[in-house]
Structures are given as C-alpha cells and as structure tokens.
Symmetry: C2
Subunit: 205 residues, 2 copies
C-alpha cells in the first residue's frame, strides 16, 4: 500500500510525505472535522482522503474501515478518557467536582468540544458508530472500573457517567435553557451533589 | 393547496380521501417510521408522501416543513410529556420511582421505544431538529415546571430529566453493559435514589 512510484504532484502539497505519521494525524484531523460538520453517516473515506490530501487506499491501510477511523479518533481526545477514569477513581472529597469540571470543561474546550459533539452525533446516528463508542468506553474506562468494584458499584458508576452525558446533551446539543446559560462553575455546583449521591450510594453497598 | 381537480388514481389506493384526518395520521405514522429507520436527515417530504400514499403538497399543507412534521410527531407520543410532567409534579414519596418507571417504560414500549430512539437520533443529528425538540420540551413540560418553581429548582428538574435521558442513551442507543442488561425494576432501583437526591436538593433551596 506504500506509494513508491514517486509520481509528481497528485494534488498533494509539496513536501507532504505519504505514509508518514504526519499523514496519519492529518487523516484523523480531517475525519473528526468532517464527522463534526457533515455528520458521520454522510462522511466517506473518499471525502476524508480528499480533505487530508492523501490517497483513499492509505486510509484503509491505516484504519481499515470508517468505523476503524472513528475508533482511532476516540483515543485522540487529549487523554480525556484517562482523565475521566482518574477522576472517577480518586479518593478525595472533591471527586464529584473534579469529575464534573473535567468532563464539562472538555465539552467547552474550543478544540475538544466540537469533536465531542461530532462523536455523540455519530453514536446517535449510526448503530455501527454506537458499537465503536461502546467498545471505546469499555477499553478506556470501564474495564479498569469494573475490575475495582462490585457489580452494583460498577452499574452506579455508569449511571454517574450517564448523568454527565445527559446533561452535556441537554446543554450543548439541545441547548435547553437555563441549563445552557449556566457558567461552568454553576453547572458543576448543580451536578456535583448528584454525583456525590451516586458515589455515596455505591460506597454503601 | 386543496385538490379540487378530482383526477383519477394518482397512485392512491381507491377510497383513500385526501385531506381527511386519516391521511394526517397516516402521514405522521410514515414520518416517524422513516425517521426511525432512515434517519431524520435522509428522510424527505417526498419519501414520506410516497410511504403514506398521499401527494407531497398535502404534507406541506398540513405541516409546513419537515421540522413542522417532527414537532407534530412529538405530541403524538401517547401523552408521554403529560405523564412525565405529572410524575415530576406529584407530591408523593414514590415520585422518583414513578418518574423513572414512566420514562424508561416508554423507551421499552414496543411502539413508543423506536420512536423515542428516532427522535433522540434526529435531535443529535440535525440542529433544526434539536430546536424542534427544545421547543417541544418547553411547551409540553418546562413552562409548567418553571411557573411553579424557583430558578434553582427549575435547573435541578432539568438536571433530573438529563439524568433520565443520559441513562436512556447509554442503555438503549449505546447499549452499554451492564446498564443495558438490567431489568426495568432493577434500573428504576438504580436511578430512583439519584432522582430523590435531585428532588431533595431542589426542595432544600
């Protein structure tokens, strides 16, 4: 699949090396941009290749399918899953605030926010994207949590994460008022007591 | 927009009266079916007309735009918004259980469930559908709640509803395990304590 023909400019910028780790990053960047603007269902390998200025075969070489590309892009969220897992497993009294601030802070971040919206939209829109999202959550967050908790505690952690996601959906996708008008710290103040009660419930088991 | 030409069969079943309340119901039925199977973005007035066996102009006559059709279909959810509003404003100790059972029961209902999934997908996929959804929530649920609560209490109610939606998304759309494997009553047992703490927090204001 590597390009050894050295053909002159096929609509590529001079100096772009095909197959370099740079192309990989450019492809992921273009994919997330298109998932965010065009929607997952209407984005094609071909349109991503065109935006990243690489050959479509390079994308299939690196990532296999569009689902593979989505899976890979989920691990390029500025270490968000790692930060969430760390916040969930912290043993300190501000755990609820830290978790809420980490999660909503990411949705408000100028670069991460549009990507999280794109990924939520993709999962809602396409069953295969939902599968990719579920597997990413399992790999990056749930496996560790499950190993360190009882089944009831684990189900409670999932309920806590559902709380965060539902609030993000209402605030950043539906833009429901007044939820969408609160400042980040006000939002944390509303959500943290609920997360605390989830944690207390889990610890009482 | 009314058809006065009395042209013979234009692909309509004999005996179907154009403009009758029956056509209206058939159009809504076809729209919800297509939103559920094809997705909101890829459904057109023309494809709904074809499935309902009516002229496309009849759909624009009744509902205006595709957004209008979505708005109307939201009020055909077996009185779900009314039942949710009633559960939220009940003054009884089982309020949290009733609300959770009403809401998740609807997602598990053989006829309502696919429609709720279709509507959640539409809102995630299309900003104009998100606007329709937000306006429907305001009209059918939030206006009454807001009139009867302080701003902080109202924000708390929205957080409670976000909890329900987030859990439904994780369970019925992402199908995250073990959340997706719980029986309805087990699910109610997990979510009700959290709703109770939201209500307690709201009442303490």
């Amino acid at each position: 699949m590597t390009d050894t023909t050295n053909t002159p400019d096929r609509n590529r910028r001079p100096g772009r090396r095909v197959g370099s780790s740079n192309s990989r990053a450019l492809i992921l960047e273009a994919a997330l941009d298109q998932f965010a603007t065009t929607g997952y269902g209407r984005t094609s390998i071909r349109s991503i290749a065109s935006a990243a200025e690489v050959d479509p075969s390079l994308i299939t070489h690196f990532f296999g399918t569009k689902e593979g590309l989505l899976a890979e892009s989920l691990s390029h969220l500025d270490r968000l899953p790692v930060r969430i897992r760390a916040a969930l497993t912290r043993a300190d009294p501000d755990k609820a605030e830290t978790l809420a601030r980490t999660y909503f802070g990411a949705w408000e971040d100028a670069s991460l926010g549009p990507r999280l919206r794109a990924l939520a939209r993709a999962a809602a829109e396409s069953p295969s994207a939902a599968t990719v999202m579920r597997e990413a959550l399992e790999t990056h967050i749930f496996t560790t949590l499950e190993a360190n908790s009882t089944p009831r505690q684990f189900a409670h952690m999932q309920v806590a994460m559902s709380q965060l996601f539902g609030t993000a959906f209402a605030r950043y996708i539906l833009e429901i008022h007044p939820l969408a008008d609160l400042g980040l710290e006000e939002l944390v103040d509303h959500v943290a007591p609920i997360l605390r009660s989830v944690f207390a419930e889990a610890e009482s088991d």
